[in-house]
Symmetry: C3
Subunit: 281 residues, 3 copies
Amino acid sequence: MPLSESAAHAPTVDDVVVAYATLRAQKPLVQAITNTVSANFMANVLLAAGASPAMVDNPEEAALFAGVANGLLINLGTPTAAQVESARLAAAAAENAGRPWVLDPIAAGGLPWRGGIAAELLAFHPAAVRGNASEVIGLAGLGGGARGVDSSSDPSAAVPAAVELLAKAAAVSASGPVDHVVGRVEGQPTLIRVRGGSAWLPLVTASGCALGALVAAYAGVATDALTALVAAHTHFSVAAEIAEAGAKGPGSFASAFLDALHDLDEAALRGRARIDAPVRL
Amino acid sequence: MPLSESAAHAPTVDDVVVAYATLRAQKPLVQAITNTVSANFMANVLLAAGASPAMVDNPEEAALFAGVANGLLINLGTPTAAQVESARLAAAAAENAGRPWVLDPIAAGGLPWRGGIAAELLAFHPAAVRGNASEVIGLAGLGGGARGVDSSSDPSAAVPAAVELLAKAAAVSASGPVDHVVGRVEGQPTLIRVRGGSAWLPLVTASGCALGALVAAYAGVATDALTALVAAHTHFSVAAEIAEAGAKGPGSFASAFLDALHDLDEAALRGRARIDAPVRL
Amino acid sequence: MPLSESAAHAPTVDDVVVAYATLRAQKPLVQAITNTVSANFMANVLLAAGASPAMVDNPEEAALFAGVANGLLINLGTPTAAQVESARLAAAAAENAGRPWVLDPIAAGGLPWRGGIAAELLAFHPAAVRGNASEVIGLAGLGGGARGVDSSSDPSAAVPAAVELLAKAAAVSASGPVDHVVGRVEGQPTLIRVRGGSAWLPLVTASGCALGALVAAYAGVATDALTALVAAHTHFSVAAEIAEAGAKGPGSFASAFLDALHDLDEAALRGRARIDAPVRL
């Protein structure tokens, strides 16, 4: 069943638990075209969460693989010329095959070259865009401008940009202390805030990248793009919250986070999920 | 003394302990042409085990370095065009200099482009091929087909393919719950099963890749290719078993595994090794 | 205020504490053009220490970014053709914009191709060169020759080479059991030894690379190049010493090291710093 561009109803914790159970049962195959900083941690996050990673990012194989993977992530962290070509081929192939793909437009707002690539990729209609506020704002062409790869805006400031991006992507999220997820419910733009997480997360490099890959995993098993985003953000936030309890710093947190992603079960997910009531935009 | 293509006798735990002590004493220099997911973990595994890693993978230097490294690993996880050229040059240089090299044919069975590269590299006569069952079957052209980079076959199913590959490689292993290692003893194809390991290993990305690099390290110090493979698999499995005791999930396991690789001594290796009696094929 | 090429006085622990406090307050943006082995750990070290990493290493963006980053690291671990082009563009742009940059000439002494690149980059006047003894000796053209990427010389042996390199770089360090840092004080070549660290550090791959990136971070906030090097080496050594207390091996050490880098405060830095009295050369 292909991923719907609009949710039939605003996703609740029940929908998140269903998506989670489906992910664990189906172990979606996620193709990632990603940066060198993130590749290892991202693959470990996918494995721990219950998905199956494959970093097929060369132009010879990217399109072929995108036609069979359950989800595709394109992350623009450290793009090489070959990866940019692979991204175009894979995004086109995914759209053509009706497979969901996710765009993580790292620093797209602050660096014109990659901004142009990100804008071009949008034409292939991603199921989801995941970034920080600056990146979402930058991608929508509303100004902003990322400082390096860190966020410099509050996620709530990115909501108008996220809504604008719904013209190209089925759903959009801006990560931050409170994640802001925007998609369509019965065709109407809707905001859902996901709370939780940990203050250690921004100190673990590529944690945002890994979340983008988890979105691609959920896009491969969920009913609709908004539910996939809400489920991935919730799964990530709950695991981070659990991991924080035993962490003494960013190093021990990263290790505990992988443990928590794996150890999570439906009861813990349900008990700790903090999904706000939907806001019609 | 160059690595022999056939063992004088089937390797036993005594031979593994000798190879291990030699590795610790000689700290073999291992050149790795490998994927972006694995590079960091692989280098840490080599250092912890007692070898010296060098990821020299550009076409300008790959052949030069292959002539001086004690062992070379070529891993096809995320091949770039430059790495493919480097792999050809390095494999040729290694063969020419009589230096052992190891092929890890990631997803070679499932993706025709890299399958062709892997088949081409086989002409340079690797000392060993290490893969999962699908990859070994795929490389031998017996069908199969990997799903992403995960194994989808039982290692025992790969034994006929491994035997077929002995026409090109001195020894072949298929990793899995029970590792299946095939090589020649007094010229006769022989199977040795290595037991142990941990269920956490498949949840740590690039653990198989790192094992391939450890095979290259042992190939640089062992008497023959079969002993190098059995020693690497045994060292890896024993360390994984020790690490599992203190692990709560894949994150803490990965950290404990590096500790265990380093902390291992001859007594622990001897006491925990589980090498089955050889099976003449 | 641009980084001075000569210190007004030999840096003391007070100067290191000031540099450290400035780094924490300003969170310098560090651009890194680095190898695939190091990218993840380096970014995590920078985040834990209080800096902001951005691995912008493509030729389209490298120069633009070098004009805005507070510090730039160029590490020659696994150079691709595109990264070499990026390195030239970024080093030129940094010099032009008066932004400090740091060269980590991995294996420059042992491999002629990258040795030539490193020598060429020196023309862009790095604020600092950081390497192990073999690399510093190799870069200065005094002979030597690195074995793989490990150091094979005592850092004290690199002091003459470091002094020679002051013709191109404002300051130079050779890492080892005792780090040897050479720069100018009131225009006079001066050696400062930094003690501490941990025997686990050399068993964590890319720890030297990460130190190079930390030098670039300090170069973005310190008064002069010598102080930047002494501060980075001291910060690194103190955190390693703290981390060693709870480590059981290289895996748990790496995790504890990130925790310690983050957890460090001025009192611990001051109390544990071991900076020898300066030696006029």
